[in-house]
């Protein structure tokens, strides 16, 4: 445990961007009401404002007069080893970095990104929960947290191509678009791969997969380690550069999109002229421009709702595209949950939480908010565009024995393609 490293990291991270927001906090506690983990458990330690306490303490004690005074008077304590361990549990197990709290904060403080900064400090101190760290290490060594090695990838893709009779172009130089799947899709939802391949062929996209950039998931980003985040993103960018593509498409994976699309440019040199986009954006564009045609009302029996993912909708901006698609697929049976769109309630399994066994009880507790929303909407099917949400939904539907169908949006689109 290197607590001083954590403190130094907090101080390094605290430029004007962080400090001005820490100073804006009035300690009103309203953010707590936005947090699904607080709502589900009532544990005050899950309040987002409390999750950034270490960052705030490090900043005040280093930079402010009042912080120094509070330290001298014993009102505030310096950061000890046990604090780092304690907060490690709170910010990795009880936070999905969904950033709903920043929508509720009357000061608009970007709590999600600030909690990510706390993760960075704790990761540098070497206090990441063991389950999550094991997945990070696995991805660093094997290229994937779910054991998708070169051989597994080749076997799996060959099997998908056979099973669903789709062509999966591999390492094709001169393609316009590099498509990178997540290992959740490769191992748990392989039908997604077939579905997306079918759509891309139908749209006449010149696309390819890459053996080198075969994993879009980024456990270094969950962990909050800038070094590992960059190495993992670098694998995808390098593959894109080598193949000479113009576009990288992140498939149904949320945090990978946040990393590659909204974070990479501020962390590392990203290759110029390569656009990063999400499969949902691409689907929306195909439908709008008529590159694919969908069967009107293909899913019109049984109410269907859409779950907005934190990283694809709230923080990715692709809120309208799935709705445009669902209004074609299910014009009469599409029902919104409340709250929805950018205000949606998180699935409870993102941010690496689902990878940590010890977080299971609160992860299930948080999902009860989702169950309540689904019931109120009267939905029999929940569509979504994030495989991590989908993993959480599938697991929780089983855990709570719910009569709800979980569907990936790409797959629904593929199944409703007009010939």
């Amino acid at each position: 445990m290197q607590t001083q490293t954590a403190i130094n990291t907090f101080i390094e991270e605290t430029g004007s961007w962080v400090a001005s927001q820490l100073e804006a906090c009035t300690r009103c506690g309203m953010c707590a009401e936005a947090c699904h983990f607080y709502q589900a458990t009532g544990d005050p330690e899950f309040a987002p404002v409390w999750k950034i306490e270490l960052l705030k303490r490090a900043y005040e004690q280093r930079f402010t007069l009042t912080g120094k005074l509070k330290l001298a008077l014993g009102v505030d304590k310096p950061i000890h080893d046990e604090d780092v361990l304690h907060w490690s549990k709170i910010i990795y197990e009880a936070c999905t970095l969904c950033n709903k709290c920043s929508m509720v904060c009357p000061m608009g403080i970007s709590l999600g990104p600030l909690i990510h900064d706390v993760r960075t400090g704790i990761s540098k101190a070497g206090a990441v929960p063991a389950d999550l760290m094991a997945a990070v290490n696995k991805q660093m060594e094997e290229g994937s947290p779910l054991g998708v090695t070169d051989d597994v990838y080749n076997d799996r893709m060959e099997w998908v191509a056979d099973e669903w009779e789709v062509e999966l172009p591999m390492d094709q130089r001169g393609a316009d678009t590099l498509v990178v799947f997540s290992s959740i899709e490769i191992m748990k939802f392989p039908e997604n791969i077939a579905a997306i391949a079918k759509i891309l062929h139908k749209a006449g996209e010149k696309w390819t997969l890459s053996r080198k950039g075969r994993e879009v998931v980024n456990f270094g980003f969950y962990e909050g380690s800038p070094e590992r985040t960059k190495i993992i993103m670098g694998r995808v960018f390098d593959a894109a550069k080598e193949l000479g593509v113009k576009k990288i498409v992140v498939t149904e994976c949320g945090h990978a999109y946040d990393a590659l699309r909204w974070t990479a440019a501020n962390m590392m040199d990203v290759p110029a002229g390569i656009e990063v986009t999400h499969i949902v954006a691409l689907l929306g564009e195909y439908v709008k421009t008529g590159r694919i045609k969908l069967k009107q009302g293909a899913y019109n029996d049984g109410a269907i709702t859409f779950h907005d993912a934190c990283k694809i909708q709230r923080r990715g901006g692709h809120i309208q595209e799935p709705r445009d698609i669902l209004h074609i697929l299910a014009p009469d049976s599409f029902k919104e949950m409340t709250p929805n769109r950018e205000e949606s309630i998180c699935c409870g399994g993102g941010g690496g939480v689902i990878a940590i066994k010890e977080a299971d009880p609160i992860r299930y507790a948080a999902f009860e908010l989702k169950i309540d929303q689904i019931k109120k909407a009267g939905a029999k099917t929940v569509a979504m565009s994030c495989s991590n949400c989908r993993l959480q939904f599938v697991d929780c539907v089983q855990h709570f024995n719910l009569d709800v169908k979980v569907a990936g949006l790409s797959q629904m689109v593929a199944d409703a393609l007009e010939e």
Partner: protein, 225 residues
């Protein structure tokens, strides 16, 4: 020392010193934040950062405070929305649109502006005081607020409560003689002015940072903040 000399001290040299500390302290804090360094945002935007920031302020100042119940988190803690909103409304109206305070502004700035009729200011001031009591009770009982409140948070409440209640009692000639209450009012204002740069009451300045950052961050992603 009689009340007359206390009053002339509290509205004279002490007030000027407190005002100086307030202004200098806030400028110092502003400079310190600005000089920590901004990293450029090199991410290609999908929407307008500026537009997002503008929307963020419009929603935060003109929309949410007046229709809090449309927020889905409202039902979980309505008191903080009502009390927080009423407190700020009463505070701003009293400080900027109350006739007595307008005279202070005029003497400080050299120009004045129209004020609201006294009964309106009066009721809003009473509302703000009631809201503060509600916020105080809320801080005592809410488990999250209990966890995150230290001496500084209690001091904030007390040091804002004192000038507001003494000011209210002063205008209604309650309890103490006019000069005595006026002295207490001015003393508490002076203490508050000194306390603001040392405390989180300074959020009125950093609000413009965090709200702009929030709006720009959502705007660049093409999401309504």
């Amino acid at each position: 020392m009689n009340w007359e000399s206390i009053l002339s001290f509290a509205r004279g040299p002490f007030f000027q010193a407190a005002l100086l500390i307030f202004v200098a302290g806030m400028l110092y804090r502003l400079a310190r934040i600005l000089t920590l360094g901004w990293k450029p945002d090199r991410v290609a935007a999908r929407g307008s950062r500026f537009g997002g920031a503008v929307k963020s302020f419009l929603k935060g100042i003109l929309i949410w405070p007046f229709i809090p119940w449309v927020k889905n988190t409202y039902s979980r803690n309505p008191i903080i929305y009502w009390a927080g909103g009423l407190f700020h409304l009463g505070l701003f109206v009293t400080i900027f649109l109350g006739a007595a305070h307008e005279l202070v502004w005029k003497s400080l700035l050299g120009f004045g502006w129209p004020t609201l009729p006294t009964p309106i200011v009066d009721w809003l001031a009473a509302g703000a005081i009631a809201a503060m009591i509600a916020l105080f009770v809320n801080r005592l009982v809410n488990p999250v607020l209990k966890l995150i409140s230290g001496p500084a948070e209690w001091a904030n409440l007390l040091l804002v409560f004192l000038p507001m209640t003494t000011g209210y009692m002063l205008t209604h000639h309650l309890w103490l003689a006019y000069e005595e209450m006026f002295s207490l009012h001015m003393l508490s204002v002076d203490v508050l002015l000194i306390w603001i740069p040392l405390s989180r009451i300074s959020h009125f300045m950093f609000y413009f940072f965090s709200k702009a950052i929030h709006g720009a961050d959502f705007g660049k992603r093409g999401v309504t903040p």
